[in-house]
Symmetry: T
Subunit: 146 residues, 12 copies
């Protein structure tokens, strides 16, 4: 294996597919995890896929990634727009980092247009639904291999 990619999900994403289907789609988080696992495996990577409602736990997991991961995909959900602890943790991770959002956050409420994370990651992908996670894995693999 070429290494592990951490895929970290923030608050309320455990409800995916059960709530606000018009915004977030009908796919569940478990289905996204499966799609990620398949895509990563095809590229020679393992994934470690997690979800939490706690800001501090995302911080701890990113710190853990420093030891265990070559890349990191993060969808911090609501913490995207208010957290400074998460970008501070991301700044300490030296692998490839991609921020993902299922919906196009620029079509939604004003407060969702700003992400405190974006300037601490390598790239941002939003609005492309579950496929965004897969594209992020491809990007990490591409960089790891280049």
């Amino acid at each position: 294996m070429a290494g592990t990619i951490f895929i970290l999900n923030g608050p309320n994403l455990n409800l995916l597919g059960q709530r606000e289907v018009d915004v977030y789609g009908a796919t569940t988080l478990a289905e996204i995890e499966a799609a990620c696992r398949d895509a990563a495996a095809g590229l020679g990577f393992e994934i470690d896929f997690r979800q939490t409602n706690q800001e501090g736990e995302l911080v701890t997991w990113i710190q853990e990634a420093r030891e265990k991961a070559v890349g990191l995909v993060i969808n911090a959900a609501a913490y995207t727009h208010s957290s400074y602890a998460i970008p501070d943790a991301l700044a300490t991770f030296e692998g490839t980092k991609v921020e993902v959002h299922l919906s196009n956050i620029f079509k939604r409420e004003e407060f969702r247009h700003h992400s405190t994370l974006s300037n601490q990651v390598d790239g941002v992908i939003c609005g492309l639904g579950p496929q965004g996670y897969v594209l992020a894995i491809e990007a990490i693999a591409e960089i790891a291999n280049s």
Copy 2:
């Protein structure tokens, strides 16, 4: 063929690979075009790849896409941050639309953090270099096939 994807590039992108290599990388626009053509072909699509320094010409090309294209990738460069005519044109295009930026615009000057286009496209990909174009094509193909 499954259809044509328009790939439209804005001002100064013709200089790619020749200027500010630390920001934009050493790849030329011709090399990006070649990578796009390969990726699209692999997915059964043709591309129509163009560059202009004129805001109004981007508007006209987007209007042309209404007749000829199933998807559209746009890197409007500096017009990303000031144009209202381009998003107005994008609003009239009903195929899949992805906004791409080579660099991570959220790591750069304040004025580059806001895009007037983002709420008129389906998805946004930034910071992933030339690969961002390829991922955008994959996303369009995925949606066209779903």
Copy 3:
């Protein structure tokens, strides 16, 4: 019983009656819980009354309410003014939701004048002390019975 009402309290409310009595009054949280239980019982409802200092735990409890409660009273205390995760959770709860504040937040510091929750609840009651909780329960009962 007509169902359960969740009553969720945020950070530092466990100190009620012990601190800043001029702002929050001398009533303890236990006394408010008792008053709520009595009022709810009189209207045919049970309550589930909780307090936490963790933003993420409030999110988790609101998610839990989706399964167990017909109504929800929330006093998110300091998280009222900075959390986006809590209103995102509230958006997924379909029962009646009332935001309560003991003090009149509009008489206090500027940052307390804005609540990120208010546009995700049905109603807001503030400045009426512990009675505000009781009025919120009455409102939920009234809507449940109408």
Copy 4:
């Protein structure tokens, strides 16, 4: 009788039940007045219920309340967001004061999120429809009796 409660209504509230029923509900102002009269009577209070389209008349009525009322419920409607004369008048009234809004003003246009009155009343109730008036009367009675 335990005293009189003034219930003052601002501009356009005379049209309640006839306009924008999706926002304000189908109840007329006369029906709200009846509900208030019943609730107050049950608690041993009389009410004096009025409506005007004039900002200055609300000021004059609040001044009148200084002589005649033990409590005051005010729904200043559109003047809520621009008047300084009404809060100046409220500052001179020493009985209990509750601001009421039928709709949840925090779910509506930006300008309705700010009330110039809120820091001159004891409590605020919004979003709970005609029942909000009844809850305000209960709050005033509770305070008068405590």
Copy 5:
């Protein structure tokens, strides 16, 4: 007759032709009324032309228009820039509504550039002097006849 058009004028417009002639022109309000009456008559409409210095009276007149008028022309003068009660009243009127200003408000002081009414009317005409009133009547007639 095809119906009545209310033409409502706000504060200080009774002084037209007597003050600040360089800004507002030398035509009096009576002369504008006569021009409106002629234009309306030619299109088969009656007019009801009024002026007041009171914000609340404009509200009351707009409410009256709900019963009596097919269209409404409003020049709210200084209340254009601060009133929320007037646009709330306009929202309840279902006929055609046109906002008129004699002077070009965008050439004047900053505070005159914003109108609280504009998003509650069908159209806005400004800077065309007394002829603006006549054009507004034509627009109402055109819509009434279409």
Copy 6:
């Protein structure tokens, strides 16, 4: 007599001496009127001293001053901070105009620091209590005599 000076008072000033004595002092409006009458008489002027809670009535009175007064003292109270109709009326009065405030508005709440009237009067006097009215009359007399 050298002419008449209009002295116009806005909302809630009828309560002077009865409310918020720490802010506005214990002098009543009648006592201020008497002091003004004495001071004006000593300088050869009559006064016309009025109070209203209505913004529109202040507008009408200023228009009336155009016919009857050589000078005008205005304390618009709360309308000082929100009215555009009053300064529009003041702009049409060609005699000497002085804005007066009993308290020092710059020591009070932020919203009281801005007056919409100040750029339509000749001078402003604030913070000097009832004497401010007398000084304003002196200033008008001085200018009338120079």
Copy 7:
């Protein structure tokens, strides 16, 4: 003939009637041109009706109007909100100038509420659909004949 009126249309207006019919209506630009020609002819004027997607071409055409036209109607579409070159050109044209918008721009997105052109034209007409062009021609004719 009494002279020529230039009628200049900005980006995307060539798609009128084909896109966003709920916003802009079903009338095509050719139909508007025809209506303008008829209206102008009835008043003794010729029209020169043009459309472009280029900001700079609008500038050039306004310069051309200095030689050839007595009046100018301009709908700069999206350039209305960002161009300084167009108002600079308008400042050099000494005939009558009217800015027209088909939709009521004050009911739409925030950025459309501000026009950089409005303080360089004589009058503004918006929200009255294609008839707005005809009213603008009438206004120009009225001024030309007065």
Copy 8:
């Protein structure tokens, strides 16, 4: 003598009567000093009248007033709008303090509308020319005698 009044003048006031006569009038600073001396003498006071271009010297003089003066008139000219050292000094002076401006600062450039001094003085007089100084002396005498 009833005591001394310090009258302190800031930068460029030494040029009064020689520059920008349309803004500041033709009276020289020496003539204002004479008028002040006469007015003060008539009320039983002496004056100490000074001018400086240095912000720090105004601070030192205000400190000196703590030992020598019963009242203080200050026209800090341009330092009115930027100094925090001057209001800090004024806060230490316990006699009566009046801020004076010759011109009506609210009719002038935006930056002149804000004074950092106003909330550290008892009263403010502006726009009444040299007479403003005399009125300030009267106010100080009135308070000293009351």
Copy 9:
């Protein structure tokens, strides 16, 4: 012993010495703890030194300090700039409170210039590296002994 001083550290401080050494220095958190323990012992105090990535845990620890500590040193790291729950907890602690930052936060990104804690502590020390903790302990000891 003269009592205990709580020394509370926020998110990512557990990585000190391992990350961004140019910003935070090479000293580890364990080394800072040792230095604090030595300094406190020399002054007759014990310390309770903790670190957490959770905002809510900092709140709980501050509440615990109410029972156990005479002083409190807090470096809330990233929560310094967004938390309202932490300052609310600090407001309930009556011992001496000092906020410490290793780096000079005013030389860093804009968002780090504002601390929500500063107005709820006695003093702030920043930019002096690990020595800042020692100075804070000295300050607490000095106040405890005075």
Copy 10:
């Protein structure tokens, strides 16, 4: 020859001497070109002097300068205040760059006070009329020769 200096002029500058002579002076663009040619010749340089109304054409010409010019003088006129494409182009030009404005843009409307170009040029000269172009050429020559 020591090389070529590009002198690029933006929209409406072709009308120099024909419009707004009080702002821009009576000199025509041809006369400025002649003065530039003379000055440059005296210093051993050739000039390439151009004007366009198109933003994109300025971009293209700056790109062309990369091949052909040792220095560049740019007066982007109205595009100075809104263009991001022009400064992006300037960033790719490595010769000496001077921004010139005929009028003192800081004495004019607020929007003209900000230039998007200024931080991408070496120096800025404004308010010195046609001579500003000559001084810019001297500065380029001085740097080229140093």
Copy 11:
């Protein structure tokens, strides 16, 4: 001796102990000087302790420190919030620089929350009274010795 530390004090600090004792404490500046001298001597340093009301004199003294001092403590008082000349001078001083405030400036008026100096010093200490000066000296000594 290990060298000299300049301790520079700004406007109104000469009044310490005589004014606003509740804010600044009862200690005089001379007592602070004595405490500094003792502390410095204990660490092997001399001090040069000065106070001025002039911004420019602080600039000059900082320049002087370049020749004579190894460290610098500055309490610029009111100039802290408006001066750019002082931080420009500080930028030229290469020894250790600590900014000190007696009171906690973050608990006071809004304008005192921002210091123009903080990003030109090594560290900031505020709210710890006269002890802050002593701690600053310790910090300078520590750095000088490390």
Copy 12:
């Protein structure tokens, strides 16, 4: 001689060539003075070249220039961004005035982008180093001779 040109320099410019050489260059102020003297002499002018750290002294020197100088070059350094006293003094000087900055202030910190002086001078030159002074003298000579 054709007259004298005052060349006034603000705070910290006496350190030129000794500090921050990367920003301001290695030329000393004495060398700039010499270059100015040569250039002026060549054009028939004398210069009076001064430097001060005091804002008030710059004011006094500008007043002195009214008597003695035909032109004035000013580099107010840090006072450029905060002084209102200096532009007030400049407004009284009727000769030609040019503001000069050695560095390109638009490439530096945000606060340096705004000059309070610019709208009170004829022209501004920045970013061209010591040569900027020479060009300013040429501009003054050109205007004096035209």
